[in-house]
């Protein structure tokens, strides 16, 4: 993985000194809250319902064991012993005190972590495929491109005060495992006509109040022109994006308002007048960064492992775990293990300090010292020998991290909701917990197969409910929590927004309603047809009927 050079280290150090001074001036009253707010947001610090919240960047989701241990240290020392992983592959701490923030950032800097640009109207932490360097269908590892974007965008003077936040995701395969059509810009590595790396670019995605799926703006930008093309997009946005209305300031609104063709014309105009040689990525620099992401020293192993196969035969619980939480690796004899942060009745994405240390130990011992944070709010040990999988599972199981539910119905994505968030209208976590209890039966979950359920506590959509196969949105009806259900959303290469199926439901009716929709799927699906494919074939009507028929009958 990437290691800081002297410039990175100095930049983070200087930023901490600057922020420490800002905290001191805020504490002394020299800065008002209105003056301090944009400064703290630039450093990932929010003021939520109960306390400050610190959002720490995990660039493209990649961490080593030392970093994970340091996160555990921060959780124990400055917080309440846990953290929360988000869909942007960041980690949030919910209880830090203002005066502790400089110390937290100093501790994180020791392990090359920071909170720069995890909030504010700037280019946010770049996300990517959690199976980068693992998946066999990958054209190229997207992480070096993520690192290039990180370096280029960090404290970029021209793009630190955009109309609104700007998110970028990048993938290296046709299969989209990073929801690249939901943020402002999505990038998919493709092979150019010259055989070199090229980038297919999508623009104008975004969720929230007015959700939009990103549209293709370029089919193959040469890799070395990546930064020039992105600069052109950002300049077009910076010049044309609205600043008078926060709800209409994101690039998704601009692209929708003027149309992809007009936006594309402006991007091309900007692209043509850029001094492109200044932004062209030098071959030697690309090679230098790629070198950080060379594959670890894998052993030459047979594709199968007798001990792994025997453990699967002898232990049905382990076998189930491997079916749901172990993914194929392009290196023979290895697999990638999904560490579930979705225990039944748990808080999606939460992990205790003790659990962080377990994961750190396993990463160090069994996964070339690497652990990843995923879009789905889980962790991944990317490079585990199959013959070690049983040992890894056993330890995860002891730590409560081995729920066999990756991509299944209880692998619920949820924002913190009204339990923590000052923007939320309704709670998300209790709904996720009730739903996970309702759908806890492991056999049922396997029978249902992959189903993505997303819950957001307000229209800002941090739980990505718009693109959940089933989405749940908390709304406020005269001070009471109600929940609107959508069906048919999808965050992948066939990205789509879900359709609202009807009126919102009170909290206690949500889990039974979703269970009925899933039962209906089992009745109407074709052999081998996934939930989302059944919805695409039949539309939302059968599920709408399943959700509302008994409620209407009882009314």
């Amino acid at each position: 993985m990437y290691r800081y050079d002297e410039f990175d280290a100095a930049l983070v150090r200087e930023r901490i000194a600057e922020f420490s001074d800002q905290v001191d001036r805020r504490s002394s009253g020299e800065l008002t809250e209105d003056e301090f707010k944009p400064l703290r947001l630039m450093n990932g610090v929010y003021l939520q319902l109960h306390a400050y919240m610190a959002r720490i960047a995990v660039p493209y989701g990649v961490m080593n064991s030392r970093q994970m241990r340091q996160l555990a240290h921060v959780a124990r020392t400055y917080d309440k012993g846990y953290g929360h992983f988000t869909t942007r592959t960041n980690i949030q701490f919910n209880w830090p005190a203002l005066q502790d923030l400089p110390a937290i950032l100093t501790d994180l800097a020791e392990v090359e972590m920071h909170a720069i640009q995890t909030s504010g109207n700037c280019i946010r932490n770049v996300t990517t495929d959690v199976f980068a360097g693992v998946a066999a269908d990958e054209i190229e590892d997207p992480r070096p491109w993520g690192e290039i974007l990180r370096q280029w965008s960090t404290i970029h003077p021209e793009f630190s005060f955009l109309p609104r936040k700007f998110k970028i995701a990048v993938i290296g395969a046709a299969k989209d495992r990073a929801a690249i059509r939901t943020p402002a810009v999505g990038r998919q590595i493709v092979r150019g006509e010259d055989g070199q790396t090229a980038i297919r670019v999508f623009v104008g995605g975004g969720q929230g109040r007015l959700p939009h799926i990103a549209q293709e703006i370029a089919s193959a930008v040469p890799g070395r022109s990546l930064l020039a093309y992105l600069t052109a997009i950002l300049r077009a946005y910076n010049l044309l994006g609205r600043r008078d209305n926060i709800h209409k300031a994101r690039i998704k609104i601009l692209v929708a308002a003027i149309g992809i063709d007009a936006f594309s014309d402006e991007v091309e105009r900007q692209f043509a007048i850029l001094r492109q040689e200044d932004l062209r990525i030098p071959d030697e620099e690309l090679a230098r960064i790629r070198a950080y992401f060379t594959p670890p020293p894998f052993q030459a192993l047979p594709a199968t492992s007798p001990s792994y196969d025997a453990a699967r035969r002898l232990n049905p619980e382990f076998a189930r775990f491997t079916r749901s939480n172990l993914r194929d690796h392009k290196q023979a004899g290895y697999g990638a293990i999904i560490v579930s942060l979705k225990p039944i009745d748990g808080v999606p994405g939460d992990i205790t300090a003790d659990q962080m240390e377990v994961v750190a130990d396993l990463a160090a011992r069994f996964s070339f010292d690497e652990v990843r944070a995923s879009y789905e709010q889980n962790l991944v040990l990317p490079h585990v020998r199959l013959e070690d999988a049983y040992a890894v599972w056993s330890r995860l199981r002891e730590a409560g991290l081995a729920t066999a539910n990756a991509d299944l119905a209880t692998d619920i994505i949820a924002c913190p909701g009204l339990d923590y968030c000052s923007l939320a209208n309704a709670r998300s976590i209790p709904v996720a917990q009730t739903l996970s209890r309702q759908l806890a039966d492991a056999d049922l979950q396997e029978k249902l197969g992959p189903v993505r359920i997303n819950i957001s506590g307000c229209i800002n959509a941090c739980g990505h409910h718009h693109v959940g196969h089933i989405g749940v949105l908390g709304v406020d009806r005269k001070g009471e929590e109600y929940y609107q259900i959508t069906v048919g959303g999808s965050p992948d290469e066939q990205a789509a927004l879900g359709e609202i199926v009807g009126r919102s439901l009170p909290a206690d009716e949500v889990a039974p309603a979703i269970a009925r929709a899933l039962d209906r799927y089992l009745e109407v699906r074709n052999d081998g047809e996934l939930f989302i494919d059944t919805v695409r074939r039949l539309g939302a009507d059968p599920f709408r009927t399943a959700i509302y028929e008994p409620i209407d009958a009882a009314a």
Partner: protein, 95 residues
């Protein structure tokens, strides 16, 4: 009646205005304010920015939040209702 609440500057925690302008951490210790005293209290809190961040008034009956934001204010007063901060949540039941 109303209560005055805010987040505390140094640690972000939920605070209320108590008797004799004291800063208190529990809603039970907050000072009930009528329409006249509420506006005065709000002005005074706004003049103490080293303690009160974004002070505002909430509607209560007794010391139980009412009005449109009642659930939010109950959660603010008692802590998250679920998860790793559950020790806080038991107090929600008492409200």
């Amino acid at each position: 009646m109303k209560l005055l609440t805010a987040n505390r500057l140094n640690d972000g925690r939920v605070i209320y205005l108590g008797e004799a302008d004291a800063v208190v951490e529990t809603i039970d210790a907050a000072r009930p304010l009528d329409a006249d005293t509420a506006e005065t209290a709000l002005a005074q809190a706004q003049s103490r920015p080293a303690i009160f961040v974004n002070p505002y008034l909430i509607e209560v009956e007794g010391r139980s939040p009412t009005g449109r934001d009642r659930l939010k204010e109950r959660i603010r007063s008692a802590g998250p209702t679920v998860g790793h901060s559950l020790d806080f949540a038991a107090r929600l039941e008492a409200l």
